[in-house]
């Protein structure tokens, strides 16, 4: 309960903000993203949805500091993004685990590249593996895990960084529908638990709405944020909500913004 009280107190704090953010490739001939304006408040879950090539990954990689923007201003925690930073962590469509490391060693990687892991770090890593339901697989190598389990290890690794801004680029896109729904529910629970601000890219409109506080609807050529749809469904969310009228209303709204009717 104190959590929600705290949430309300910080509600206005903007952690990521973009003013006219643009990105061009190939010497300016490809406009991947144009004039993106947005404010993301602390602890919010944001879904980015849009057709292929509309610049979702580009926007995420800009925020992560993996690529430089061509125009505009992009701030994280009030400072301009100049490169990768420790308060942001990113997860990709592929699990990208290191095959020669066990699950727990993979989870510890973000710690290990900066300092020697302590006993506390290892305890935390085990805890996170437990959180994603892999307590019994901490010492398994990636090749001994299924695709869905590998992606959960990647999720635990994402959380091990301790970053308070999480960027997920179609993290469960390569998985089957059941596993994906299951992991989505887990992700929501964990995100609420750690209170991290989250940007989540997906192709799937229902998934985008189901997870998010706000949906950034993007359109292509040039890539831009066409509309921000507020999702005021109560939390915790259940899969059943997806068949309710209010949910379908939101789907309609997103589709409209996409021009997909």
């Amino acid at each position: 309960m104190t959590n929600t009280a705290k949430d309300k107190a910080d509600a206005a704090e903007v952690v990521v903000s973009g003013k006219g953010v643009g990105k061009t490739f190939a010497g300016g001939s490809v406009v991947a993203l144009e004039g993106a304006n947005f404010d993301i408040e602390r602890g919010k879950f944001i879904s980015l949805v849009g057709p292929s090539g509309c610049g979702k990954s580009t926007l995420l990689r800009l925020v992560a500091g993996l690529i430089d923007r061509s125009s505009g201003e992009l701030k994280v925690h009030g400072t301009s993004v100049k490169g990768p930073r420790q308060d942001i962590s990113m997860m990709f469509q592929k699990a990208t685990l290191l095959e020669w490391r066990t699950a727990i060693e993979n989870v510890l990687l973000p710690t290990e590249v900066h300092r020697k892991p302590t006993r506390d770090d290892r305890t935390r890593a085990l805890e996170l593996l437990g959180m994603v339901g892999l307590k019994d697989f901490a010492f398994s190598y990636p090749a001994q895990l299924s695709g869905g389990m590998q992606q959960r290890v990647a999720l635990a690794r994402l959380l091990q960084t301790g970053a308070d801004i999480l960027l997920l680029d179609e993290p469960f896109g390569a998985l089957d529908e059941f596993t994906r729904e299951h992991l989505n529910v887990e992700l929501m629970r964990i995100q609420a638990d750690v209170g991290a601000t989250t940007l989540f890219v997906t192709h799937n409109i229902s998934e985008a709405i189901f997870l998010a506080d706000e949906v950034f609807v993007m359109t292509s050529r040039p890539g831009r944020i066409a509309k921000v749809v507020d999702v005021n469904l109560p939390r915790p969310r259940t899969l059943k909500m997806q068949v309710e009228a209010e949910f379908n209303h939101l789907v309609e709204e997103v589709r409209e913004a996409l021009g997909a009717f």
Binding site: M90, F92, K94, V113
Partner: protein, 291 residues
Amino acid sequence: MAVAEEITEAGAADAPRRGNVWRRRLLTHLAIFLAIVTLWETGVRAGWLDELFFPRPTDILVSFWRIYISQGNVWYHLYISLGLVLAGFVGGSLLGVGLGAIVGFNPLMRRFLQPYVIVLEATPRIAVAPLLIAILGFGAQSKISIIVLVCFFAPFINTLSGVVNVSPEKLELFRSLGVSKLQTLRKLVLPDAVPVIMAGERLAMTAALTGVLVAEFIQRDVGIGSLILTYTRNLNMASAFACIFTLTIIGFAIFKGMEIADKRIAFWNHEEGRERLSARRRRAFEAKGRA
């Protein structure tokens, strides 16, 4: 293949059957081997094969006895040759892996060195051997450099391609974690290239064995290659064959040894390796928890 699958799929309950399969296979191998040897022996005795070039298997056996036990002269030559193989292999590998990593990790260097790599790849390395002897003179150092030369290339090219072909996704992950270049090389690029490097090392080992023979054929003083040359010139073919079969056994041992090394070093590519290490990690962890 079918037999192998049958064996791996056989469970504990099938153990007796598995034993039978093994025994049958062993007997078949033995029968074929004996048939070849007998055919050879009778061929020579009947005069179908020229005894000058094809000594009787029984004579070869006698030669084995002589060079290993009664005279015992082969040991010294083996010691010299295998010492050279080891030195050349280690030198060539270190050079190959080191340069491969440096060139692979450095795009600028790669661009400018690419043409020379192609030229080097197209040139039979052994052709340079006489030149090396001219430069370094006769003796161990020129022999070792010949072996280094023939060993160098496979580890070099494999390390290079292993380093270049690291998945861009993993590199991006490391970049997003803010990992330094050196750490990325140590924790991502090199381990990722290990299986390919090991494949290169296997080729290098085979090349080293050939290399030492060529080196010893060119400068005939000591070593198993020189010994073969001496025996053949003296028309002591039985002893020459004994030396050649010795090399067969060494070659086979090296091949098996490299296979075992690969399973240990690139363990994550092998099912048993993963399971062994996984269990060991778990035990180590549990032991620490109890302490």
